[in-house]
Chain length 339, copies 2
């Protein structure tokens, strides 16, 4: 990010953009041409998917078992479309068969799922739902903000039509961009809209002309953020996706063993736990004070609970460069002084 | 930007946010509490103003004499509102009295003006229009992307209700944020909407709760960009706004003298020329080749014309740290080898 700036139409910068797009395709495991970073944080990626694919009056089946499923519903409503909620309690997965039943019944324009619910630490099964959606002609939109780069995301093999992520989770890049990929079916949907996309800034039919071969100016790209993403993706791919996933899993397992010994409990079922976002019930009478001490005395920031889990859980991130046994040991050592 | 990251709810980061907001108020010359950087580039600031203030069916009088007035109209239409265009040829100002007549006739929700049209190098008079708008109960929205930090922008004294900018022009910060300020009248309008803001990501009633005293999470702030903006605004205010404006003007005058001697012509009337964005008619038979040589041989990037001015003008930026006599001399020396 400290590199001198380039103009957003400078050939040297356009070569970097090409490289970023290529690396994003590798990270998403896709060959989709429209794979690019949206100029905003992860929520801008969510909004970009929904505003480009939905028109007023459309139905959208949304899996809701945490804050980010709720956010999808809020965005769907603002578009004038109709969210059909398939819910599960915060901390549990949504059974895929319940989502498929809703798809068969409502025949919506799309189904929205949060692959890694950052608010609860739950990994949502998406493969079966994406396959059923494709068979029904329903587009699948998957939030990979916290999963990309930290656990398997296979856009093409799983048949996902639109996916987005953020840069600041398992890609270990500062926040500020939202990687996004659109399959041909999503692009066809975009091309066949009857109404314009409600957001000019996020209109992928315009943005795609800057990222494509035409290089038509749409908005000024956030140059330094693109530099950062190029470098971060370079590190991800140099390590290798499989090795990176294994590292996240190893750090997660060490954390589980260490925390359970300290009296922490893990509310999420073992088979649905996210390796990079650990929801835990802390053994402290005043969880907020304990988090403050962690930050003030040890420089370690741990997330609090959101929504119905506020004050009840901690959310411990082990993402990207932080997913190491050393980091786990440092956290455990700090916690031992507090229990 | 190379500083280690902080969490977006870390007290140390929130103190930086407070400082950024205070410095933005100084730059905009306003006391409005809702003054903050939108998490996107300049066009996201434009869209934020329009989506928060307009509802479907509203009329919006837009001054159109270049690419960015056109962009405002495009955004107004996507909201389902109705743009009332008051036009002038690209390269000329829009006579304020014509805008005022349109305000009296259409009684729109807002009037949108581009203070510094980056596509043409024209400074649009806004003071008289803002005053007339306020008298008629019409909100004024002013694009200060290229003017902020390079020429006078007095939000409170001029009675502007909403203004936005970009970071990469005269603030000399990388692109990626859109400074924005909303006057109480704009906030009242936001509070009295009958329909939700069409964009969740840009909804200022939600964003304002993160930037206000509540610190309610909305979306993850682009941390490194905020660091950069804090530093850039520090430099702007350390130099002093008046000194900075004088420096831009001095560089502009040196450029005019030097370019006229080389056979360049300035199509914009003297009294309406922007100091930081110089529209010039180059004396080269192949203007595109000359720009390529400037970039390849001298590392100097000059903008081409847009829209009806494509292939006819160059747009020479002298913005922020680049608005110096040394930079002008370097450009003139390079151009002398080409003419």
């Amino acid at each position: 990010m400290a590199e001198p700036l380039l103009g957003h139409l400078d050939p040297a910068f356009l070569a970097i953009l090409d490289r970023v797009q290529g690396r994003l395709r590798q990270a998403f495991r896709t060959v989709h041409p429209l794979t690019l970073p949206i100029s905003g944080t992860g929520s801008a990626g969510m909004e970009a998917c929904l505003v480009n694919l939905l028109e007023p009056g459309d139905a959208a089946v949304i899996g809701v078992n945490g804050a980010f499923g709720e956010r999808m519903c809020a965005m769907v409503e603002r578009i004038g479309a109709r969210p059909v909620r398939v819910e599960a309690p915060w901390g549990e997965t949504i059974p895929p068969e319940r989502v498929v039943v809703a798809l068969e019944r409502h025949r919506p324009r799309l189904v929205g799922l949060v692959h890694a619910e950052t608010s609860t630490g739950v990994a949502q099964p998406v493969v079966e739902i994406a396959a059923a959606a494709r068979a029904l002609g329903v587009l699948s939109v998957v939030d990979c903000v916290t999963s990309l780069g930290g656990m398997e995301v296979k856009v093409d093999e799983w048949g996902i039509d639109a996916a987005y992520s953020g840069t600041q989770k398992c890609l270990s890049c500062p926040p500020g961009l939202a990687p996004l990929t659109f399959a041909p079916a999503a692009l066809e949907r975009l091309a066949s809209r009857k109404t314009p996309v409600s957001s000019w800034y996020l209109d992928l039919s315009l943005i795609g002309r800057y990222f494509g071969t035409e290089r038509v100016y749409h908005h000024t790209a956030p140059i330094s953020m693109i530099f950062a993403l190029e470098a971060a993706l370079g590190e991800v791919l140099e390590e290798g996706l499989e090795a990176r996933f294994a590292r996240h899993l190893a750090a997660h397992r060490a954390l589980v063993a260490g925390l359970e010994a300290l009296g922490f409990r893990f509310p999420v079922a073992v088979e649905h736990r996210l390796p990079m976002l650990n929801a835990v019930i802390p053994p402290f009478p005043d969880e907020k004070l304990a988090r403050k001490e962690l930050l003030d005395r040890f420089g370690i920031e741990v997330g609090g609970g959101l929504g119905p889990l506020a004050g009840r859980i901690w959310r411990i991130g082990l993402m990207g460069t932080n997913a190491t046994l050393d980091v786990v040991d440092r956290l455990l050592a700090a916690l031992r002084t507090l229990v």
